[in-house]
């Protein structure tokens, strides 16, 4: 309400360059955490990893309470929530209509999309760090409570876990980009594996394609330390269908869509 005596509006500085991708990624990372819903989702991901480790402490035999035994199971529930993070990052712009501001400030929409993808990939990698941390705490606790508490860890598991979580978050983002509607994208994404298993149980002919296309099957080897060349191949095919295609088609849709 104050009356400011601002300088003349004309005859001014040359206009600054556009924002760099790093700056945009920083903004998108901030958007993941600056709303109540976003903060809850991130907290839930951390809590669920911790909860799984706690459960393991009680259910596993003492001799089995090793670092790896804590780490690997924590990946699954986190991997289930990361796609939701990917979906929300993309779709909340449309459901909350902030796309109007975002794309008015950055009209080259592909840059915003790339920054969003970079942000959720960083979040997925951070989630692997969280899994490592809670597994470490679990191992310490196991050692203190009479479990094995052994620190044996197959380092191959780490890149596999990273691929697993990055693929999960990007699949979510791909569905989000394609459908541009939060509930629709989440439901579609979560229903898909179920539909696969129902269909392949009913239709014999789908057994073989399912081994190549059902991501719940093709991604499973990533939770172990050894992945064969054949398994990588199947993973690649399934991710091409469920990650690359939705991302590409979704990008085209987002670039063309009218913002209102």
């Amino acid at each position: 309400m104050t009356t400011t005596t601002a300088p003349a509006v004309t005859n001014r500085r040359p206009v600054a360059d556009g924002p760099s991708l790093a700056r945009l990624t920083g903004v998108e990372l901030r958007k993941l955490a600056d709303t109540r819903a976003g903060r809850w989702l991130l907290a839930t991901i951390g809590l669920i990893a911790a909860a799984i480790v706690t459960v393991q402490l009680f259910v596993l035999d003492d001799a089995e309470q090793t670092f790896t035994a804590f780490f690997a199971p924590s990946l699954l529930p986190v991997g289930l929530l990361l796609p939701v993070l990917g979906i929300l990052s993309i779709c909340s712009e449309w459901s909350q209509r902030t796309a109007l501001t975002t794309f008015a400030l950055v009209p080259r929409r592909e840059r915003v999309v790339v920054a969003k993808l970079a942000a959720v990939v960083l979040a997925a990698l951070a989630s692997v760090g969280v899994s490592l941390a809670v597994a470490a705490v679990g191992t310490l606790l196991a050692g203190a409570t009479g479990g094995a508490g052994e620190w044996n860890f197959d380092w191959q598991l780490l890149p596999h876990a990273a691929v697993f979580q990055v693929a999960n978050v990007l699949m979510g983002a791909g569905f989000g980009l394609l459908l541009l509607n939060t509930p629709l994208a989440i439901v579609t994404y979560l229903l898909l594996p179920t539909v696969w298993s129902i269909l392949s149980a009913m239709v014999q002919a789908l057994h073989r394609p399912a081994a190549w296309l059902d991501t719940s099957v093709t991604m499973e080897p990533l939770l172990g330390a050894e992945v064969t060349a054949g398994q990588w191949g199947r993973l690649a095919v399934s991710l091409l269908v469920w990650l690359v295609v939705p991302l590409a088609a979704g990008l085209v849709r987002t670039l063309r869509r009218e913002v209102s």
């Binding site: 909340s92 009209p107 209102s260």
Partner: protein
């Protein structure tokens, strides 16, 4: 500063914006006036590169919006005050935009102060804001990059009378310092109070454009005849644009003398013939509004 050339937008068979052209100069406030659904918002979204036009062009500061590297620093845009994440605080919404544009963080506090949102309001989530507060936040967002051009869609919506008065002063001041303002409204009085130039749009077409004084003064001739049908046909035949009023009269975009001559040549009896004066623009606008709401009711 803002050049709009033959913008057209079709949605299937429906033409939302039909060959709209106008331009806005630095130092002026241009009022973009039209009833709801006339195509104002669609035109503004096309200017800002958010809606791809079916044909035509729009340029701001000499370039197409999408080609501007950092548009927030040149053009302040407020297209819909409600288009904010309900879960973010007002200050956070501004902080995100400031980071995107590369504007100093201190600007956030400055614009919050300028639009009259205090520290308590800035810390609240936008979901708890009234429409008036959202308009103020939207205006803060538009002013954040210290732009030379403002494009505002219905900025007075939801503001109380004091807020409307304050906003007029802000826009007037912005234009007086050399800025360019394009603001839309469906309220004639609102535009009349602040604009230097007026573009009236109805059914997707520009129906009148020019300086406010000239439009308000020379808004045409009001004519009424004993046989309205024959009068209409006669006016159409000689190519005079006539819009039917609500009470059987016509608003004709010509001098009274010319209209009287046409009627006399055709041997028609006139019951009224006078300059439309101040009421002309209003009459024209009412005609547009009446048509539009009838259309909506039919839908």
């Amino acid at each position: 500063m803002i050049m709009v050339e033959h913008l057209t937008k079709r949605y299937g068979p429906h033409v939302a914006v039909d060959d709209v052209s106008f331009h806005c100069e630095p130092g002026t406030v241009t009022g973009f006036l039209g009833p709801n659904g006339a195509g104002k918002s669609t035109t503004m979204r096309m200017i800002c590169g958010l809606t791809p036009p079916t044909s035509g062009n729009a340029a701001v500061t000499g370039r197409r919006y999408r080609e501007l590297p950092n548009p927030g620093r040149e053009i302040g845009v407020l297209l819909d005050a409600s288009a904010q994440h309900a879960g973010r605080t007002g200050r956070e919404a501004l902080a995100l935009a400031a980071r995107t544009m590369g504007v100093d963080r201190g600007r956030v506090g400055a614009v919050l102060d300028q639009v009259g949102l205090n520290a308590t309001a800035a810390k609240r989530r936008v979901g708890a804001y009234s429409l008036g507060m959202r308009q103020r936040l939207g205006l803060a967002l538009a002013l954040l990059g210290d732009p030379r051009v403002l494009i505002l869609d219905e900025p007075a919506n939801g503001l109380d009378p004091e807020g409307i008065f304050w906003m007029r002063g802000l826009l007037r001041d912005f234009a007086d310092r050399g800025g360019t303002v394009l603001l839309s409204s469906h309220l004639l009085r609102e535009v009349e109070a602040v604009a230097d130039r007026v573009v009236v749009i109805g059914g997707g077409r520009v129906v009148a454009a020019g300086g406010k004084d000239e439009l308000l003064a020379g808004a045409g001739t009001l004519v009424r005849g004993r046989d309205p049908h024959a009068l209409r046909l006669t006016l159409d035949r000689v190519g005079l644009t006539a819009t039917a009023g609500t009470d059987g009269g016509f608003l004709v975009r010509a001098e009274p003398g010319a209209v009287g001559q046409v009627a006399a040549d055709a041997g028609l009896v006139l019951t009224e013939l006078r300059p439309a004066g101040n009421g002309g623009l209003e009459q024209l606008f009412l005609t547009l509004t009446a048509g539009a709401s009838t259309k909506e009711a039919v839908k």
